[in-house]
């Protein structure tokens, strides 16, 4: 089920809130678990089993790991955590990557091994990473093993973050699982966050996505160099508002239920370098790779060569995590190269350069990166890149281009504005903070409610008119 659907908004969400809030404390996690499983099973009932297996393995091995640690049998503890990691990674590998490997082996060796043709279980890359972090953290003694399987399962399956992140670490919510406190403050701020995220997804990402979907299949005779850039920029906006919109909705829903997740996006498109971009984009994923891959490999403590190798591994895996196709690997490698360039000199130049140059540099390469990301078909990717750089004999600009500019200029301007911190700052200035007088407080509440009402209603209107509403993370 998608958050951005009438079924979720006016069916699932009211029900989950009612049952959650009428349940006594000791049942709340069970209620969440049941509704989360329902939420998950809605799209693909049979894969609930896969997720259940992963959870049980994580739970049992967590207890065993801790038991061995307490008995100071460290080798046995290590074996237990390795088993847990291996089983969970094995499941992920099987469902997500097996056909990719078979295809490549077939192509390389001229073989004809049959493909499994499996559909990817929804959210498997997200929840597997959560279970892995739990297993490793127990082993590192950073968290206590969860004794109650319902609590652990409620954490893994928690529907706000189940299918599109953020990758919530067990340590973030360990305490909240048993000792959280729901309040009007957290609920109200959750509503604001959720509605903002819904608007980002439905009003901005879906509109940008519609533009991309039209322009990316435009016949060559109607296309132009400028239009192929507009197409790429549309995708750049789509993926940001889609992904960060989902994270906002997840964080907002979490707050409505008394949870506090960490931030996942921090205005990535205002970055002045690629390094900065990756500190602001999908933070839960980058920190996951840092803490569970880069640092265990030795990080930067084993000399320059090992550091570069470690960074290479991280970016190879980051790319591959996003999908079982070569373009994602290339996309990861692309960022490896850019980050290395910045690490060894470019960063210093950028810091001295005027801000607008650094911004343009960053956006240019990020945008180009999304083109690589957008096309898993290499020939389409090649054609898109050639179009953008005038190597396909396209006109620079044509009437069709002007038509799209006139039609979508407003959308692009809104998207650009919404990519910065300005809307948030303006909002805080107008309706944020505390007022001394009751009248001031009422006015601020009123303004906020009106704003939320408009965003929510426009989003519902878009969803009700069966318009374009894709889910981008089936590959993750």
């Amino acid at each position: 089920m998608l958050f951005s659907s009438i079924t979720f908004l006016f069916g699932f969400l009211p029900l989950v809130l009612i049952f959650y809030y009428i349940s006594p404390r000791f049942l709340k996690n069970a209620v969440l678990l049941i509704f989360s499983l329902l939420f998950y099973a809605w799209g693909e009932p049979k894969y609930v089993i896969v997720m259940t297996v992963s959870i049980i393995v994580g739970y049992v091995m967590g207890l065993i790991t801790e038991k061995f640690i307490l008995e100071e049998k460290l080798k046995a503890a290590k074996a237990a955590v390795i088993i847990s990691v291996a089983i969970n990674l094995g499941i992920l590998f099987f469902f997500k990557y097996i056909d990719f490997f078979i295809t490549n082996i077939n192509n390389a060796g001229g073989l004809n091994i049959k493909l499994f043709g499996l559909e990817l279980p929804l959210g498997i890359s997200f929840y597997t990473f959560q279970i892995l972090s739990y297993s490793v953290d127990v082993y590192r003694r950073e968290v206590k093993a969860q004794k109650n399987i319902i609590n652990l399962a409620a954490y893994i399956t928690l529907f706000p973050q189940l299918i599109a992140g953020p990758i919530v670490r067990y340590e973030t919510v360990a305490e909240q699982l048993t000792k959280r406190k729901e309040s009007f403050d957290s609920f109200g701020s959750g509503v604001q966050r959720f509605v903002t995220g819904l608007g980002k997804k439905v009003l901005l990402a879906n509109t940008a996505g519609e533009i991309f979907d039209i322009l990316s299949v435009l016949p060559q005779e109607d296309n132009s160099v400028v239009l192929s850039w507009i197409c790429a920029i549309a995708y750049t906006f789509q993926i940001y508002f889609d992904f960060s919109g989902y994270s906002d909705m997840a964080i907002g829903l979490g707050r409505m239920l008394g949870f506090e997740f960490l931030e996942n996006f921090n205005y990535p498109y205002i970055s002045k370098s690629i390094t900065e971009f990756w500190r602001r984009w999908h933070i839960s994923l980058s920190t996951w790779f840092r803490d569970y891959v880069y640092i265990p490999l030795g990080g930067n403590r084993k000399g320059k060569v090992r550091t570069i190798v470690n960074i290479f591994i991280v970016w190879f895996l980051t790319g591959f995590w996003h999908g079982a196709a070569w373009n994602f690997v290339i996309w990861g490698m692309y960022y490896f190269v850019l980050l290395m360039l910045e690490k060894f000199g470019l960063k210093k130049i950028l810091e001295k350069a005027p801000a607008w140059i650094s911004h343009i540099y960053t956006l240019f390469f990020v945008n180009l990166g999304w083109v690589i990301f957008a096309y898993d078909d290499m020939s389409k990717l090649g054609a898109a890149l050639k179009n953008m750089f005038g190597m396909n004999g396209l006109a620079f600009i044509n009437d069709n281009t002007l038509f799209y500019i006139i039609s979508y200029a407003a959308v692009f301007i809104i998207c650009a504005f919404a990519s910065t911190e300005l809307p948030k700052k303006a909002g805080l200035k107008i309706a944020g903070g505390n007022s001394e007088t009751i009248r001031g407080e009422t006015l601020k509440s009123f303004i906020t409610v009106i704003f939320l009402f408009i965003v929510m209603t426009l989003s519902v209107a878009s969803l009700a008119s069966d318009s374009f509403n894709p889910f981008l993370y089936f590959r993750f």
Partner: protein, 370 residues
């Protein structure tokens, strides 16, 4: 306090839509969108296992949501407010006119032309006339939004003229339509021509057939409705859309028998007045789409003719019925038996195609022409 107000407003909002959509009686058909709506799907092990329950339920929720029609208008109006002029393949043109987009047609067009040519060559015993009507996007191309790229139907007409078999007399009413373009010949909210447009097509067709058309003075021209919102409005509804009028050319001396052979019903009028009360008022002309029907009248010319048509013919046939006393009408979208046999059995010598350019460019039912 602020968060308390926000929380309560949000819960009220959810309650309004959730309870409203539950309490409201489900509709099985949307007049505005002119389509069947999803009703509550069956819950069973089978439908859950194959996922059809879930996907139908999602459609059900969005189809039956309270204020659905207003929400759809809000969405289109929002896109309009952002200066978008092409929504759901409909252009918002000057003078409150909605115009259907038209794109490069050659794929399907060539297929259709070869079906029509083959039929003419295989059945030389008939005389063929083809009235081919250009669409609003061509006649009003200057009213389209700036830089809009409707494919040039002038080029397409010329292409068809070059390709079409010599057996077929192609009638192109473009010049006359263009000369009368300010006389309300196309609807603002529908993809059809009005009866004013159809009258022009009718006179051009008569000229080509060598018969005298009825003059406009012979008719009482009545406005049967001023509240018509057509198919283009359904695709791109906005709050402030100007409605259309339905014109009827009524011949006080005309006597008709219309036999709807597909449903075995009969009517003594070429107009189905009851349909003025439904949303799709264009069906007032000969009750909309029928696979086969036969019109007999008191017209002077008794030579039986066969019309193979799309819905542009619906508003023209009432006029043609005052010129020919026996008209057989076939719609290839629904009539899938042999046309040549039918024509032979009914003593037909003249076959008339009535189509619009968009239809001949996109329809894939000409394979039933055999």
């Amino acid at each position: 306090m602020k968060n308390k107000i926000i929380t309560l407003s949000f819960l009220l909002y959810l309650l309004f839509f959730a309870a409203g959509s539950v309490i409201l009686k489900d509709r099985s058909f949307s007049d505005m969108e002119n389509r069947e709506l999803q009703t509550m799907p069956n819950l069973s092990l089978k439908t859950v296992a194959d996922g059809s329950f879930m996907s139908d339920f999602e459609t059900y929720m969005s189809d039956q949501v309270i204020l659905k029609d207003e929400l759809v208008k809000l969405k289109t109006s929002m896109s309009r407010a952002l200066n978008q002029t092409l929504i759901n393949d409909v252009y918002f043109a000057e003078d409150d006119m909605l115009i259907q987009n038209y794109v490069n047609p050659y794929g399907q067009l060539n297929i259709n032309l070869s079906y029509i040519n083959d039929f003419a060559e295989n059945n030389p015993e008939f005389e063929y006339t083809w009235l081919l009507v250009p669409n609003a996007c061509y006649i009003y191309s200057d009213k389209l939004p700036e830089y809009a790229s409707c494919y040039d139907q002038g080029e397409v007409m010329a292409y068809i003229e070059g390709k079409i078999s010599d057996e077929i007399n192609l009638v192109n009413p473009y010049d006359e339509l263009y000369d009368n373009r300010d006389d309300y010949i196309f609807y603002r909210t529908d993809h059809h021509w009005t009866m004013n447009g159809a009258y022009i097509g009718y006179t051009e067709l008569c000229k080509a057939l060598g018969v005298n058309p009825m003059s406009k003075e012979d008719y009482n021209i009545n406005i049967a409705s001023t509240e018509f919102y057509g198919t283009l409005y359904s695709k791109a509804p906005v709050f402030n859309q100007k409605s259309d009028s339905i014109l009827l050319y009524e011949n006080p001396d005309g006597e008709y028998k219309v036999e709807y052979l597909d449903e075995n019903t009969e009517d003594d009028s070429v107009y189905t007045y009851d349909n003025l009360n439904i949303k799709d008022k264009y069906t007032v002309y000969l009750d909309g789409n029928h696979s086969i029907l036969k019109i007999t009248s008191n017209a002077e010319n008794t030579e039986p003719i066969l019309v193979i048509k799309d819905s542009y013919a619906h508003s023209l046939l009432p006029l043609l019925a005052d010129t020919y006393s026996e008209i057989h009408v076939i719609d290839l979208r629904y009539y899938h038996q042999s046309v040549s046999e039918y024509a032979g059995e009914n003593g037909i010598t003249k076959i008339i195609y009535i189509n619009n350019v968009d239809f001949i460019s996109t329809d894939n039912n000409f394979l039933w022409l055999y």
